[in-house]
Symmetry: C2
Subunit: 101 residues, 2 copies
């Protein structure tokens, strides 16, 4: 595999038993993923930046959770409106300090 | 958040619309996650190593997929029996070369 520059994981609260439920999902996880994909396409970041939804990360009280690797930046209480700012920060090799948990 | 030493993502083929289906799930993704959790507990790696299931990573032909961050090691065609060897390698700061994609 070509190495990604950034891999964004968005908690979608999926359970392995086949249900999607839980705090992050209620709180716009689907829109967060869609917005990341839109930003990645608009900025031609395909192949450099990938977004993947995840199962529950276990810190629901701070959800919706977004983790960016390899830098391991943990963001909490993310909204779909925060996505553009997060991608701006990625492109500048910076972080959105107000969302860090 | 305390930084994890390793974060293991296992493709569980979850779709954000609330279904779990697809190649990785058919191919033992659930057992792979359970085995990782068992190894993490047996070796007292809680807080250092975390395992999270993910939605489809889009490379189903090489599934089941496991990605380990921050080193971004992509493993393919992983079986539940490979988990112990992957965790051995993590503890030794090495990789399981035969599974790398």
């Amino acid at each position: 595999m070509e190495k990604l520059k950034h891999h964004i994981f968005v908690c979608g609260s999926a359970r392995l038993v086949g249900e999607n439920k839980g705090f992050c999902l209620q709180k716009d996880a689907v829109d967060i993923v869609l917005n990341f994909n839109e930003e990645i396409q608009d900025r031609d970041l395909d192949g450099e930046v990938m977004v993947t939804s995840t199962g529950c990360m276990g810190i629901c009280s701070k959800g919706p959770i977004v983790v960016v690797y390899p830098e391991q930046t943990w963001y909490g209480k993310v909204t779909p409106d925060d996505v553009e700012e997060i991608v701006d920060a990625l492109e500048e090799e910076e972080k959105v300090e107000r969302l860090i948990i």
